[in-house]
Symmetry: C2
Amino acid sequence: MTSPGESGTSIQRPAKRRRAATIVDVARMAGVSQATASRALNGSARKVKQENVARVLEAAQQLNYVPNASAQSTRRGDRSTIALIISEVTDPYFSWIAEGVIERAELEGMHVTVSVTKREASRELELIRLFRSQRSRAIIIAGSPRGSGEVASEIRAELEAYEADGGRAVDISESGMPFDAVELGNRRGARALAQSLLGLGYLRFAVIAGPDERGAAEDRVLGFREGLAAADIELAPSQVLRGAFSWEGGHTVASEMNASLIEQTEVVFAVNDMMALGALAALRSRGVAVPADVALAGYDDVAPLRDTVPALTSVRIPLKQVGAQAVELGLSERGARTAVRSVESSVQLRASTPARH
Amino acid sequence: MTSPGESGTSIQRPAKRRRAATIVDVARMAGVSQATASRALNGSARKVKQENVARVLEAAQQLNYVPNASAQSTRRGDRSTIALIISEVTDPYFSWIAEGVIERAELEGMHVTVSVTKREASRELELIRLFRSQRSRAIIIAGSPRGSGEVASEIRAELEAYEADGGRAVDISESGMPFDAVELGNRRGARALAQSLLGLGYLRFAVIAGPDERGAAEDRVLGFREGLAAADIELAPSQVLRGAFSWEGGHTVASEMNASLIEQTEVVFAVNDMMALGALAALRSRGVAVPADVALAGYDDVAPLRDTVPALTSVRIPLKQVGAQAVELGLSERGARTAVRSVESSVQLRASTPARH
DNA sequence: CTGTTAGCGCGTTCAG
DNA sequence: CTGAACGCGCTAACAG
């Protein structure tokens, strides 16, 4: 909160009109009717005399005319923007999905508006309502925190209403909601990771999981459990630590992790890379060497985080592709049943989980 | 590109009406006039009988009514959303600014729509036009690539037109454009970094800069030069390497960096952290040890990138605060002159630049 | 307190 | 090919 601070050397600003030019102004200036102006500006079916087109375009240029998007879509019933709802902008998991969504949408000539829930279901509900009211073409939701509470069913109802009005909801997750979805294969990926780690000779595990048992991230815990079960290994409750889905979350969990638990653990699996990195930092500052004292694996395999030291074992998800597929679903014709796309993930073994002798 | 893939077990979707309910539907159902319905829904000045309010709300609920945002703003001339234009979503520099913008905007009850230029000026122009047409309350631009070309002046004209129509443009950078701005102190910060490095005993420098001499990042090169000049050290052209503003950019530059140049260099300054990390990875794979063989510094001090090994020296900018201030400017009354806010940055010396002997 | 009427800015019939 | 007139969904005047 700095003070207003008007810089002394700053530039004078030209003061002009206050109201934006409308198509009527353009028409008047061009000396044609408003209808003709409209036709000239957005090549309608009807033809307009070349000369008039030129005059209108000239006038528009002159007046710096831009159509009023609200009025336009009021009239046309437009649905020309895609809404993307994510939990957190600064989390690379979400920003890579966003990248994919934006790129693919642009290819289709659509614009994307990104908004953030901060993992609050109430905010998600509010946003869905907003986009419904804005007549967005599709609403893509990545990482909804909704479990089964009060708000959760309101959200579902809102999305159903949105679809009833002709919108398209696309879920990025594992959820069995009645909407189209892009599945990340979290469960399968985590199972594969567990098996890979077993293959490397690890036998004693701990998991750094999300704050509660809701959401798609929990599928990673589940899958990991299943993978271990194949070797008759179970995860005791004390071996599943919970924290926020962030660097800080992983850091906190690892900082507070019981020393004897660390002692007994050969490898820690954090359900996403950010948490893994937080844990890595915390372990390091506790004097616990990774991977010498304890190995570490993450999930998502987010690009710039790959080259930590030691390099982090993770499960790669083609996040950009996930975003792109969500757009494709959102733009496709809606069938009678929900459509599901899924992507392949792959275990990336690196230095943070060396083979155990 | 996966095939449509309709999952067999997927859920049946309820098919309903196709047109969204309007306020007329609500009014009819409640048995009141459309005007009363409007008043009941958004508590206007006039009072409405309690019973009617209840009937209207009930009907709205029943019909799953949501106001048509376009029609609403067509009528009210609304300006209730803030537009944020950034270069890249996946770059933490921008996503942290976005975080600040979104949080602060939410405090003011405004929504933010984020969009991305991919550093293409033409795309920036298109977006500004879009937001002008959408009557956004303010347009906040972070990291505009605009230099002085053809598009650059079009962009400027577009922004001026936008302001003439009552919008507010806010620039996040160092630019001397006639718009309000949040200054990052790039030049000052880079100068301070140079001086700190000199203080540590470094005498031979190289810089990894942006792809060209446009934009705010170039101020960092300039400031760095100024800092060195104080010790009578100049940066030869061969000591300024240019690459893309990304991990890949830094990686490429460092990969292709002349071996003898590395030999002669004591410390490399990359104009942002992402590039620094890319360079770090490249150097490492070339067998050049950091900081033993060459030291390394970045800029921005972006959060989750701090705990690399070695920890990266950088210049911290309070990015969230920058975003917040941009919102404050965008929402403030416009004065006759452009307003400028500035934030303090601070050099963070870490293991990647140890003191020399 | 309410209903009727008049626009907001635009695209689009329907006559010329 | 063009203009006059209408209506999208909504809010805000104006009369009751």
